[in-house]
Structure formats: structure tokens, C-alpha cells
Symmetry: D2
């Protein structure tokens, strides 16, 4: 393509001649110098016709002005009863259907500005559904940890109810690497272990890009995730292999562009606070 049309006739009748004069002069110099790049108009690479929206940042990890607040410490009204993990269903469509339906009120405890898993009461899911997000979550392992392995402060953050970033006490404590804190569970180990001791609040800053499916349900682009754990980059825009599965390899299946955020009840007293996200 080399565009033959003139835009200038729409502007004002004399502009074409003036600009042409400018071009002539520029062209003359360009020919003389041999490289066009050096002498061309710097305005040519300025973008003026699209202005980024103003967002007021929060102080520290407080939510910015365009954030959707999922938990500010006062109540759990943004959440409802979840439906468990996808891989406990033999029928994926049934899982999706349940995930999208409104759920009962949740029983997790809200106290002192934080929300704690009520063991046995089940997963919880956000009432609102999301696609690509910047997500901030703070979480804390229980102080008294008698157990080992995967039973030590275990919970999980399921993006779109399907793609889990592991929550676990991994401070001076080992399990399989792709099952420790900040792992894409059973897939990608974190780059480093940036865990704080149990009883201390830890932060996840997550950048999540939802998968894209084609017209026949095929996968066009996998989900991707970055995780910053306590200020340390531990997942760097990794491709997620598919929905989290406890057994076997994951397999993408088509789902809606927006699905709820899910927090796991893994029978342990993991606490959460200051949960917000921004839709990207």
C-alpha cells in the first residue's frame, strides 16, 4: 500500500500546498543526506488522538480508583458459595453451569478486617465474573502449623474458577515445587521462593490474561499469568497449560470470556484481606 488519497482536502483548501512545500523541502534534504530517518518530522510518531484515562493510584497496596473491591475487610458481600474444583466434575459443562449460577451466602469468618476459610464450608466465588485482570490479594497462613506437605496452610486462588495460583505455607518448608506457594498448581513452579513466615500477611500481585478460544472451541491463545509475591516476580508471563487438574495433564476446554474468581477451602484456616482487581 502506498496511499494515493489526500487527507488534506478535508482540512482546509490551502493546506495541501503548504504541506507539499514542506515535503519538498524535507525530500530535498533526505535525498542529500541518504537516510530519511534522521531528518523526518518528529511529530510523525506522536499519538494525540487517544488519551489514556486518568486513574488515581492508591497509597501502598490500597486499591486504585478504578478497582473493583472484592474484600475491604468489612464484609463478604461480594462473594457467594462456590462449586468446588473443575476436575471433581466428570462433566465440564455441568461445572461451568454451576459456576455461573448465583450461589448461597458464604460462611467464611470476617473478623478484624480479614476473612478466614471456614473449613468444610466449601469454596467461595465472586458474584461478578472477570476476564483479564490485575489482581491484588493478601493472605496469611495460620500461625499454628502442625501438618506437613500440602496440608500446611493450603488454599488457592482460582482465576476464572479454573486456573489456580497456589496458596500454601512454603516458608522453610518443602513440597513439590509446582505445588508450593505461587506455583501455577501442578504446572509451573515459581522462579524463586519469596515466602514469609506463617502468621505474616503476604501479597500476590497477579496479572492474568484469559485464554482465547476460536469459533469451534479450539484454543487460540492460552491463559497467561505473572505473579509478584511479596514484591518479588515469581511467575513471568507464563503460559498456563490448561485448567488446574490434580491428576494428569490439563486440557483446555472452551468457556465464557468472563468467569468468577474463586478462593479455595482446603480445610485450613487461611485468611485473606485487601482483595481488589482492575479489569484490563
Amino acid at each position: 500500500m502506498k496511499n494515493n488519497y489526500s487527507l488534506f482536502c478535508n482540512v482546509c483548501p490551502w493546506s495541501h500546498y503548504i504541506v507539499s512545500l514542506g515535503f519538498l523541502l524535507l525530500t530535498a534534504v533526505a535525498n542529500g543526506a541518504g537516510t530519511a530517518t534522521g531528518q523526518v518530522d518528529p511529530q510523525a510518531t506522536e499519538i494525540w488522538n487517544s488519551v489514556p484515562v486518568v486513574v488515581t493510584p492508591g497509597a501502598g497496596s490500597a486499591p486504585p480508583s478504578d478497582a473493583i473491591i472484592l474484600f475491604d475487610g468489612s464484609n463478604h458481600s461480594a462473594w457467594e458459595k462456590g462449586v468446588g474444583a473443575a476436575d471433581t466434575y466428570t462433566d465440564f459443562a455441568e461445572f461451568l453451569q454451576k459456576l455461573k449460577k448465583p450461589g448461597d451466602p458464604i460462611a467464611w469468618d470476617v473478623k478484624d478486617g480479614s476473612m478466614t476459610v471456614k473449613p468444610g464450608s466449601g469454596y467461595i466465588k465472586s458474584k461478578q465474573a472477570f476476564g483479564d485482570v490485575q489482581l491484588h490479594v493478601e493472605w496469611k497462613s495460620p500461625n499454628k502449623l502442625l501438618k506437613e506437605g500440602q496440608d500446611r496452610g493450603n488454599s488457592g486462588i482460582f482465576l476464572q474458577g479454573l486456573y489456580e495460583v497456589q496458596v500454601l505455607d512454603s516458608y522453610q518448608h518443602q513440597t513439590y515445587s509446582n505445588g508450593q506457594a505461587a506455583a501455577v498448581y501442578k504446572q509451573v513452579s515459581p522462579l524463586v521462593n519469596a515466602s514469609l513466615p506463617p502468621g505474616q500477611w503476604q501479597t500476590y500481585d497477579i496479572i492474568f490474561t484469559a485464554p482465547v478460544f476460536g469459533s469451534t472451541g479450539n484454543l487460540v491463545a492460552p491463559a497467561r499469568v505473572s505473579v509478584i509475591h511479596n514484591g518479588v516476580l515469581v511467575q513471568n508471563n507464563v503460559s498456563i497449560w490448561g485448567p488446574t487438574t490434580y491428576r494428569g495433564v490439563p486440557l483446555y476446554r472452551q468457556h465464557p470470556a468472563k468467569l468468577p474468581l474463586v478462593l479455595q477451602d482446603h480445610n485450613e484456616l487461611v485468611s485473606f484481606r485487601n482483595i481488589w482487581l482492575r479489569e484490563l
Copy 2:
């Protein structure tokens, strides 16, 4: 997450015990050996519950069985009159609206199994709209090329009517690198110049991933393109900067997920044949 639920109760009442036995034995060995990976069940990483659809390939560059044929040499019934280039509009919304509306029949000449630009008759667009595609196009520069620079067998393939892969006679002939054959026009130069002489048929095999826009019209993922020119990879999954623009830097603007394929009338007798694509 470590899933506490058993899937097996849904299967048969005794399976749990048998598998548990298997696990016990496996676990024993794993503990003994130190690495679990070496001894685990190879079936664990097999995918059985999703079977790829069968597609019958075409011979050579003939279309495979799932292709949409846009031009097979007989007629141009898959095409209609286009609306020019986006950057000749001051209002992008107006461009999109026109692009999506049905167009008049086209005047390009069909002869001897190929379709040739009718200079001055305007761009043409496919009646059908597309998102991500694998696209095969064959094209030929006119034999008699008296002109130079961008006026030498110039045409273009506009993916989604917006993102141009340049068509130009670039055989032993130079223009600006990001304006030669197989360039993402005014953006990314081809890796190498794999052009054939004018008068010979050339092929483009293009893999195009459409851009993804967020809920507020923001860009979530740019368009990407690979181009294989006469069998040689010349664009390797490059990010497209935005809709092709003749002046200034490109800027993404939200548009529908599917838009027509467009071929350019640049006033020269460029010919096309064997145009097909597969929706990805």
C-alpha cells in the same frame, strides 16, 4: 490446591481400593528412589478425552477439506466492492460501518483462473468476515514494470481490512524495507527478500491472530502475523503495531472480532489466484 475429593466413587465401588493399592506401591518406590518422576504412571500424561477433528489435506497448495475457498479461479462471487483504507477516513467508526455493510459487485477481471486488479475500480473485500486464520494467497506482478519504488506491482492484503501484508514487485528492486513485499506495511520489514521475478506466481502462507480488545476498548493483545513467502519464513509471529497507516504511527482501535479480508487496488495490474483460508 490438593484435591481431597475422590473421583472414583463415581466410577465403580472397588476402584478406589485398587488404585490406592497402586499408589501405595508407587509411593513406596518413589520414597526409595528419591525422584517421583522416574517411576510414575506414563498414562498420567495422556489426553484421551479430546480428539482432534480430521482434515483432509490438499495436494501441494490446494485447499484442505476445511478451507473456505475465496477464489478458485472460476469467479469472484466471494468478493464485493471494498471501502478503501482505514487511514483515509477521519472517522474510524464510519470506516468500520462501511466495511461491514454489503458492497456492490466488483469489476476486477477473472481470466485463465486468475483475478486481476481493475485499476481505479477500488479495493475489494470478502463477503464473509474472519478472525484468526491460516490464509493462502497466490499473486503475480505484471510482466511489464516501467515504474519504480512503490509504483511497481503494488497491491496489498489487508487482514481484517486493517492490517496490511504488502504486495509489491521486490525482485531486484528496492524501496523502503518496511514497504517491500511481505512487509507489515510501514511497520515490520520481512526477515529476508524471497521474491520471485515479475510475471511468476508467488505464494503467501499467512498465519494471522486477530487483536484482542478489553471491555473498555483497550488493547489486550496485539494482532500477530507469520508470513511464509514462496516457502521461506519472512515474518515470524511478529506483533502488529496497529492498523496500517500511511502517515504517522499506528494506533489500535477496538473493532469486531471478525472483519472481511481486503485486497487493494493500487492502480496496477496485480493478479491473484488460489485464495483460501481456514478459520483457526
Copy 3:
């Protein structure tokens, strides 16, 4: 950054004034019109100072002029005895060391322009090592296929000796999806099944991007692969999870930027021909 330096003093003494004049005029119009983009110099986005190298394409799937020919039908002098699959070693470093060492001559049969696996003689590897490549391979399953599952015309193309694109007779024949022809073995199933019947030559056109490792051996970017099987895109720039492993999930380990191409001996009479690649 807004650059305060003038490039023009290096060019010719009067150019600055002339261009400034051009800028003044352009600026005047820009101010009048409201958008700078429409009126700026189209030369500003031309690239002249980097010219793509000329490559002469081959006819059909014949190698282009810059290809490295690994097998042209006459002899197997570009190959040497391989060292098996990485996951049969307990020590990855030992595998790498062996992979990089020169190997003995191979025993595979060359006849009628093709090269056929000599069952039991072992894997073969290219004498030369490669990073990112465009690879063309043609292969053929044996005509008489009595066996089923993974024992039906099984071989494999191991990019960098580590990342396998599966070779298998998958024509009207099912195995696990991520184990069929054109699968990233035990990882990513092909998008569709574009297999030809046994006894017919099939083509793989592969675009491979090697993984990138950081200074501490950590993974910075995973390997990526596209596969066009008999002209049909079946892997679309997918991330490879790690080196192919028969058991368990793959795990990236640092390795040199260039490693040999490997073909598998899986005890079956699979044939190969017309193998070439271009370093990207």
C-alpha cells in the same frame, strides 16, 4: 525523552534551516487541523537503513538458497549416531555432554532418495547444532502396519534433541491425542488431524524458537513451535512445556543455545526425505 540534539549539523550546514521551515509549516497546519497524524510526513515511517538479504526460494518444497541441507536423498553424511532420549538419563548433564560429542556413523538405510530407520540401531543426530530454525521434513509410515497405538509407524523429530514433534501413523487410527502425529509429544495435541495414509509422503514445516535461559539457569522464555502438517496448521506457536518426557511433567533445564536435530529409532520402518532447515 524528547531529544534536544540536532542531527543535521552532521549533514550539511543549511539543512537545519530548511527542515525547520518544513516543520514550521507542518506545525502550522497541524495546529489548524487538530490532529498531527493526518498531515505528517509519510517518509517518517520508512525504513531505509536496513535491507533484507535476498534469498532465492526453492520450487515447491525444495530448499531455498540459504537452507542447510540435512538430507537430499543421496547420503546420510550430515548425521551421526545419537544418544537416545533425555528422559532415559538420570543425569541431564551427562545427556547433554553425550549429545554434543561427535557420534559414530549411522546405519539407517538410504535408498531411492529416502532414508529409513534401521530398527534397533538407535537415534540419529545432525552433526551440526541449531537454535531457532525453519525446518522442512518429509516422512512416510511403513505400508504394512499390523500394530496399534503407539507402535504404528512411530518415530519422532526432536528439536535440539529435546523437544519432540511426534511422528506416527495417525490416519484413521487413534491413540492419545497428545501422542498422535504432529503432537508436541505428551504435551500439546495438534489442532486437527491432517494425516495422510501410510505409504504416502507427508510434510512437516516447522517453525521452532529455542528456549531462553537466564544467568542462573532459570527459564526466561519457553521454546515455541508451529507445525504445518501437509499444508495444514496444526500447532500455532504453542509454548513447549519442557523437554519431552515419557513419565511425569516436563521440566526445563538449562542447555546450550544450539543443539543437534535428532530423529528417533522407535523400532519401526519410518522413512524420511528432503530434510532442510534455515537458521532464523
Copy 4:
């Protein structure tokens, strides 16, 4: 590939039989149930043989234990005199050569824990060179801002001395969008404007992936960058088009894998503090 070799002979003589028994049982169930995934060994997808290194996070935006401290408020000993912007050189090789050579001590002022541009004294560069990094920078526009446009608290962070993330007072103040704070200068506008008022400290948390070049100097993968501005994601893993250029479109040129970090002197009293990075 289906691996025929047994790993178990290396482990202990009886293991093969035990595991085979496990497999038999598993296989029996699998055959009965129809899907292998549901019943396979969960250990198969655990990674044990690679343990993430422990990193102690810093409080708030304090550096983690594995960070390289480039400025902690006490002195500017990690920095030396820079060599200006690449596009002010006609010879890129000359620019690179100068960038890599040791520089003179810098004249920027260190006071009250921050470092302020000394106008006219020139760019500064880190003594150490870097590839992929997680970078934390805090910066502050001068309180008294009399000027407009690009002359309002302008500075810049040049990753590898080549790829600029813009520093500018963009609080209630407009310039071209791809020239405002957190823009990839003259390329990609930030997603939103998360600026704080002049006189307040602002943070950039940057994740940078260096470009990858091929053996002939060709670009294999472009540089990529994410920027979190005051806690708000404003660049989401965008591809950088090439080295920052004030005029014309950028063009990648091969350079070493590691190059210094550069801060710009744009003749204004911009201050910096708490600069650290982690090599990825």
C-alpha cells in the same frame, strides 16, 4: 515417542515388578472407566527435582535479598557518566562501544536520600550491565513546573541504554500519549494515566525481557516490557518496536545480551531514589 527403556533397573532390582503391578491395577481401572485422566497417579505431575531458591522479600518496596542495589540514597557509586541517546549517533556500533566503556564519575546531586539530575551534565549509566530484569525505581518531578509539553519534569529510564520508559510530569497535564509518563517513548502509550502530582514520589515496577537476536544479527524476539506505575498496571507485557528514536520508526539492531541501565538528563531537576533490580 513412546519410550521403551526402563528407568527402573537403575533404581533397585525389585522396583520394576512392584510398579508394574501398580500399572496393571491402574490399567485395569482405566480400561473399565474409559478415561485415563481421572484415575491416574497424582504424583505423576509433581516436580521434585528442582527447588526454587529462597529469596527474602523486602518490606514494602525495599529490595529483596537477591536484588542488586543501584541507589540506596547514600551515594551514586553504582553509576558513571553516560553517552547520550542512541539516535544521536549516526553509527550504532560507535554508540554501543561507548556505552560499554567505563565512564567518568557523575555530577548528579545526592541529598536527603535521593539523587537529582544535574542539568547539562549528561545521561548516567550503571556500571554493571543487565539483560532481563525486574526493576524498581522511584522518581519525583520537580515541584515548580513552569514549562509545558515535553519540558515538564522530563527524564527517562533507558533499559539496556536503548529502550525508554518515559519519565514526565503527566499529572493533569497532557502531551502526546506515547510521550507521557510510563509510555514506551514514541511507541506505546500507557493503558491509563496513574500519575501523582509533582513533588510526590512515584514508583515504577518494571519487568523487562531483553530482545533476542539470531546468528546473523536478525531479530528473533523483540524486547518486552510491563510497567506498574504507582501500583497500577500501565504496560502489559507489550512488545517494544525497537530502540527509542525521536524521529521516524525504530529499528532493531543486534547488541550484546547485557547492557547498562541509563537515566536521562533532560535538563530538568527530576529526582530518583530506591533503585534496585533483580536479574531474571
